[in-house]
């Protein structure tokens, strides 16, 4: 009944089940009413239209960063810079959303988002160039960039954008024209959802139907081999960094204009690192990013509801996420089972 070709799907499901079981164990240990708490964790995110809306809203930034990280991972680039770029592009977009007052209608958000995305692409290119030209470890440089971009962004917020009359560490109000429209009444789901779904389809076509996408995948599998077969791998690496930075930057911009009326992140929002988890769950496949982002958003909202309605703090989710990452990238996990299936199928066909 189990076929080898479904093995990856089966294994992913097994990992998620194990993670959920661990979640239940932790809840049982911590909570005074474990059954009720687990119920909240699992059902509350789907209980009302508003809550489903929350899940989808949260999945939008996760899809952006998940897609960006997927492309990087696909090229075998362990770059986690989506985090800082997401933040900084949000700041850039906010500046334009506040100060560009002459534009009207749909032009305003388009300009603001494009500016954020382009800044993101350029910033992302730096670790890419350092990697392509001098083989500087992209993981360390991108993580350092996260801290640098956060520092500079926070400086801009505190010294140039801060609204003293708001009694909080937030920016001036965005112009109404800059904000993204809501598309489902009763929820806060905004046009960013359409943008990201479109991007995902484009990325899918790029990755599987174009020459550049092919070169990207080959470089990811074996850079030396790709180089010897005549591909300019340095160019591929810089290109994938530009694209990923563009997508992550757009994510930050869209999130800011879709969900807020002032810029208010005084710490890194974390979507960049979550993007790595989304990418791993999606096996670095653009189309699967949709499902894995929705899943991550679902357990996040579940944990938030749980923290609000019961006695278990939402940080529990980070333990679950760690388990998922450790098991999902574990080549040997359940391998024995795959081998047994292979053997059985070989015997059956013999």
């Amino acid at each position: 009944m189990f076929k080898v070709k479904y093995f990856e799907a089966i294994r992913t499901t097994a990992v998620i089940l194990i993670a959920l079981v661990i979640a239940f164990i932790i809840i049982s240990l911590v909570s005074d009413h474990p059954v009720k708490t687990i119920g909240i964790f699992l059902w509350e995110p789907l209980s009302t239209k508003g809550h489903i809306g929350n899940v989808i809203e949260m999945s939008i930034p996760l899809m952006f960063t998940g897609l960006a990280v997927s492309l990087l991972f696909r090229a075998n680039m362990f770059n986690l810079g989506a985090e800082g770029i997401f933040y900084f592009s949000g700041v850039v977009t906010s500046v334009l959303a506040i100060h560009l007052t002459t534009l009207n209608g749909w032009v305003h958000p388009v300009v603001a988002i494009l500016a954020g995305s382009i800044v993101g692409a350029l910033l992302s290119a730096i670790p890419g160039i350092l990697k392509a030209k001098w083989n500087a470890n992209e993981l360390v440089t991108s993580l350092m960039f996260n801290n640098i971009l956060f520092g500079v962004g926070l400086y801009l917020l505190n010294y140039h954008l801060r609204d003293a009359k708001a009694f909080a560490n937030v920016s001036f109000k965005f112009e109404e024209t800059a904000r993204l429209a809501k598309i489902f009444p009763g929820t806060r789901i905004h046009t960013g959802l359409i943008i990201v779904l479109l991007l995902i389809v484009l990325a899918h076509l790029f990755l599987y139907k174009t020459k550049w996408g092919y070169e990207l995948r080959m470089t990811g599998i074996n850079r030396e081999f790709a180089r010897y077969s005549g591909m300019k791998t340095a160019k591929v690496i810089i290109l994938v960094h530009l694209i990923a930075g563009f997508i992550a930057g757009m994510g930050g911009s869209v999130e800011v204009l879709g969900m807020y009326n002032r810029f208010q992140w005084t710490s890194l929002p974390g979507y960049g690192l979550d993007g790595a988890l989304v990418a791993m769950l999606a096996k670095n496949n653009p189309l699967s990013v949709i499902v894995s982002a929705l899943f991550l958003a679902y357990i996040r909202i579940g944990a938030d509801m749980m923290a609000r309605l019961s006695d278990v703090p939402s940080e529990m989710i980070s333990i679950i996420q760690a388990v998922i990452i450790l098991l999902i990238s574990a080549e040997q996990f359940l391998k024995f089972w795959k081998n047994r299936m292979l053997l059985k199928e070989a015997k059956a066909s013999a």
Partner: protein
């Protein structure tokens, strides 16, 4: 500018360089050991964080700073052990495994802190202990050197001793030889009967142990309590220091000191009224520049080797 020089050219500044170098140095030594065994442990940040919290909790419940230190070191070793188990046994990708450890640590420490103290920000309600500072007799009376080198936290002295210990371990012991041989060529090591997996296990555990000491210093020396995400990138800076120190013990120690100086300088620069947000980025900028200088020189060296006819 003068006021800045006045701050830097003091024994206090030199003292603070050593003070902020300590956690970076511990973690960098840990990174050094695992890198020499050919397995990069990027979970340093998370391991330090878990150890910092463990030190606070254990010392609060046992009323002993030393038991707390032991707990922190063991916690670091344990987390590294989990990472080793998944990467060496289950073949989880080592970088993704490290990412998982870091993700677990930043949320998991807050989770546990909240369960024990009801607070998500810091451990103020836990009566944790701190390890003592030590005045060194004779040395403390020497002008200039005395105020710089004496009166440090005991773990600062441990970290300096650890540099020599790690040097001895890597270069003068059979285990060190095995670690280096596994890192340089695992197949060759395997062929002469060295168990690659076992050596990498040991190296990862040791890296966790040293990161654990660095974490203990953060919450039982640098500060006297645990605050959320208190390691603040030091684990990453340590990894950068190790790679810029060209994977040698002396180089790693010196670059750690350099990053410590950048960190201390960031504190000193506050007298110039430059916004704190920008100053805070200084150690990270220094790290990127350091990595870049190292990478460029490595590439040049490689290219020269390829071009020179003598190499053939």
């Amino acid at each position: 500018m003068n006021s800045l020089l006045n701050v830097i050219l003091t024994t206090d500044f030199a003292f603070s360089v050593l003070r902020v170098t300590t956690p970076i140095l511990f973690a960098a030594l840990g990174a050094l050991i695992s890198n020499r065994a050919g397995i990069i442990n990027i979970g340093m940040e998370g391991i330090m964080l878990v150890s910092a919290l463990t030190g606070v909790i254990v010392s609060a419940y046992t009323h002993s700073a030393w038991v707390g230190l032991l707990g922190a070191a063991l916690a670091g070793t344990l987390i590294a052990g989990i990472l080793a188990f998944f990467t060496l046994k289950f073949k989880t990708h080592i970088i993704l495994g490290g990412v998982a450890i870091n993700m677990f640590a930043s949320g998991g420490t807050v989770f546990i802190l909240y369960l024990l103290s009801g607070d998500k920000g810091s451990s103020t309600s836990l009566a944790s202990k701190v390890l003592p500072s030590v005045e060194i007799p004779l040395l403390k009376d020497i002008p200039v050197l005395g105020p710089i080198l004496s009166g440090h936290h005991i773990l600062t002295y441990f970290s300096i001793i650890a540099v020599f210990a790690v040097y001895y371990l890597l270069n003068r012991t059979p285990l060190g030889l095995r670690i280096r041989s596994v890192g340089e060529n695992p197949h060759a090591a395997q062929s002469v009967g060295v168990s690659v997996i076992k050596i990498q296990y040991i190296a990862l555990l040791l890296s966790g142990f040293f990161a654990g000491l660095g974490g203990a210093y953060m919450s039982m020396g640098y500060l006297s309590l645990f605050t959320r995400d208190m390691v603040a990138g030091r684990g990453w800076i340590a990894i950068a220091a190790e790679s810029m120190g060209r994977s040698t013990t002396a180089g790693t120690a010196l670059t750690s000191l350099l990053f410590g100086a950048a960190d201390a300088l960031a504190n000193a620069l506050q007298v110039l009224k430059i916004p704190a947000e920008l100053i805070g980025t200084l150690p990270y900028v220094a790290t990127v520049i350091g990595l870049l200088v190292y990478a460029v020189s490595e590439t040049r060296k490689k290219n020269r080797k390829l071009k020179s006819p003598a190499a053939k």
